[in-house]
Amino acid sequence: MSVDKATVAKIANLARIRMDDAALERMVPELNGILQWVEQLGEVNTAGIEPMAAVIPNTLRLREDVVDADPLTGGGRQADVLANAPAAEHGFFGVPKVIE
């Protein structure tokens, strides 16, 4: 399978990365080079093989059902959370006006 400029534009939109025509043109052969190379995976017979998502079998642990069980990741840290925001206002993250 290979991608054309329209497909790359669609992916770039899905990925929320603005790309002008020149950037799209440049990306098409680069992505196709990579995609053609990974095509070889189709040669492998994977019938009956379970896809592997995690290398070490792991079950999610449950933590104590209490407020702020871990003070490092607990609540009450509004100032810390907002400290690096590009536009914090009135204790919130500021974003441009959204009109639907």
């Binding site: 399978m1 991608v3 497909t7 790359v8 992916i11 770039a12 939109n13 899905l14 990925a15 929320r16 990365i17 603005r18 790309m19 990306m27 680069e30 992505l31 080079g33 990579i34 995609l35 190379w37 990974v38 070889q40 995976l41 189709g42 492998v44 994977t46 093989i49 379970e50 896809p51 592997m52 998502a53 995690a54 290398v55 070490i56 792991n58 999610l60 642990r61 933590r63 871990d70 490092l72 990741t73 840290r77 810390d80 959370v81 400290a83 690096n84 925001a85 590009p86 536009a87 993250f93 974003v95 441009p96 006006k97 959204v98 009109i99």
Partner: protein
């Protein structure tokens, strides 16, 4: 008095404990060496005050007769992928430029608790995506090594290239690295140092900027196997804040180091004999076999039939996870915001990400988005995950016949910066020997073996069973003792 910057982790820790020198003297010596080495561009920011404050704490603890930590008095470099409280953390990207965490990553906190100090935040490939340290927003890192008879700037490897350059140049006794598909082992091999990626889950990922979460693993980079064992012990351990953290005890790897390999079997995977591998690398592999045999091990052939497919599978799995992980950079909560006049929220996201991500990062996000998109998911992503299962099964079967696997770390020695940029694929192929162990989550280490005809270091790789860091370190030690690798780069910076 010995030049303190020539010492490694163990010698510094023991020297400080014995009172041969103070931790402050060590920190001052390394701070000076760091300041003089700006030409390497190994650090994005330096933190001499952090190193001095940690050293003073150790000196005071010693004076008070307190027990000192495993890394007491050792100033280290911190890869700029670990969140450090109050110190800019960028992942070498523009999108995180100026980001100053209000918390400390688990791994860095454990190192400070063990008595280490921080010389600065080390440069890397942007978001750890790269194998040559040429994708950093803050400029290339230059290796301290030069090819014989040439003045060309050489690659320190990547993505932990600031770490490898700093340790090889003796401006840091050790540094943290992270390894997603070879990012500790390949730079270690390129610069003649040691580096170990432990079993997936040994080191907490909490507070480490995420690239591909099912693969990312932190580890130490230092100039000896002993130093790696000490530092890994300080970094590893269960962390409830990381859902994939291994809930098991951390062995005392340093105490159990033993290079007597009698009764051990070393597997040689025949599929690693690939076209395009330098003859000097193949020769060093033969030499490695002889060294391990000399240490008492039996050499056996093993098969890893899906080796050839590991790298292309990795280049689906890792970008897929990256495209999801990097969705968080939206110009809202932290980092860069690019808000052109009069645009809405969606356009702000797109403009911010266009301005904030480098080309390689964009390429991988696009590939990841494509392979996860409707209609292509099964053909690419599911198939890659199945191949990942086959690669892991290959190792499982091989480890029924051997205790540890010996292979080259890389197919070539270091190359000049700028010489591999024509086609992204050429660069990817550099990790062909490193990626299989990453996909399987296995502990793997690179140790320096020899210099090639150009005077550049070559590394050998050891891969172990899950949780058997000890077996990897022990085989690494056996090679270290026989290789007698003492070469170091001549100072030109």
């Amino acid at each position: 008095m010995t030049d303190l910057t020539s010492l490694g982790v163990k010698d510094i820790r023991d020297g400080v404990a014995k009172g041969d020198f103070t931790a402050r003297e060590v920190a001052e010596a390394f701070n000076t060496a760091v300041a003089e080495a700006a030409a390497l561009n190994a650090f994005i920011v330096t933190t001499p005050d952090h190193a001095l404050a940690a050293a003073d704490k150790v000196d005071a603890a010693r004076a008070a007769g307190e027990t000192l930590g495993a890394m007491a008095g050792v100033p280290i470099g911190m890869k700029d992928l670990f969140a450090t409280n109050g110190v800019q953390t960028t992942a070498a990207s523009h999108i995180l430029e100026g980001f100053t965490p209000r918390y400390e990553s688990t791994v860095s906190q454990k190192l400070w608790d063990a008595g280490a100090g921080m010389l600065g935040k080390l440069n890397l490939d942007q978001f750890a995506m790269g194998s040559s340290n040429e994708t950093s927003y803050f400029g290339n890192v230059t290796s301290p090594w030069k090819k014989a008879g040439s003045n060309a700037a050489m690659s320190p490897g990547g993505s932990s290239g600031g770490s490898s350059a700093a340790v090889a140049a003796r401006i840091a006794p050790a540094a943290t690295g992270t390894d997603t598909g070879g990012s500790i082992r390949q730079p270690a091999a390129f610069t003649g140092i040691c580096g170990i990626k432990p079993t997936y889950g040994r080191c907490s990922r909490w507070g480490v900027v995420a690239f591909a979460s099912s693969l990312d693993q932190a580890g130490p980079m230092a100039r000896s196997v002993e130093d790696c064992a000490i530092m890994l012990g300080a970094m590893a351990g269960f962390d409830p804040k990381d859902a994939t953290s291994l809930q098991m005890d951390v062995p005392d790897w340093e105490a159990a180091l033993n290079s007597d390999l009698r009764g051990k079997k070393v597997g040689i995977p025949r599929e690693y004999r690939m076209e395009g591998t330098d003859q000097a690398i193949l020769d060093s592999w033969e030499q490695g076999k002889a060294w391990l045999k000399d240490a008492g091990a039996e050499i056996v052939d093993v098969a890893l039939p899906h080796t050839k497919y590991a790298l292309p599978a990795y280049y689906i799995v890792a970008p897929a996870e990256a495209s999801s992980n990097l969705a968080r950079y939206d110009g809202v909560r932290y980092g860069l915001r690019d808000l052109p006049d009069g645009v809405g929220l969606q356009d702000m996201y797109a403009a911010t990400r266009a301005a904030g991500f480098g080309d390689e990062v964009k390429r991988r996000i696009l590939i990841g988005t494509y392979v996860l998109s409707a209609g292509f998911y099964d053909a690419y992503y599911t198939q890659a995950q199945k191949i990942r299962a086959l690669v892991a099964r290959d190792f499982e079967r091989a480890f029924q016949e051997c205790d540890v696997i010996l292979a080259p770390t890389t197919p070539t020695a270091s190359f000049p910066l700028g010489s591999m940029n024509e086609d992204p694929l050429t660069m990817y192929l550099n990790d062909v020997f490193a990626v299989p162990a990453s996909l399987a989550g296995l502990p793997a280490m690179s140790v320096p073996a020899t210099l090639n005809a150009d005077g550049l270091p070559l590394g050998l790789q050891l891969v172990g069973r899950p949780f058997d860091e000890q077996g990897v370190l022990n085989a690494g030690l056996a090679i270290q003792q026989r290789a007698g690798f003492t070469a170091k780069p001549e100072k030109w910076w």
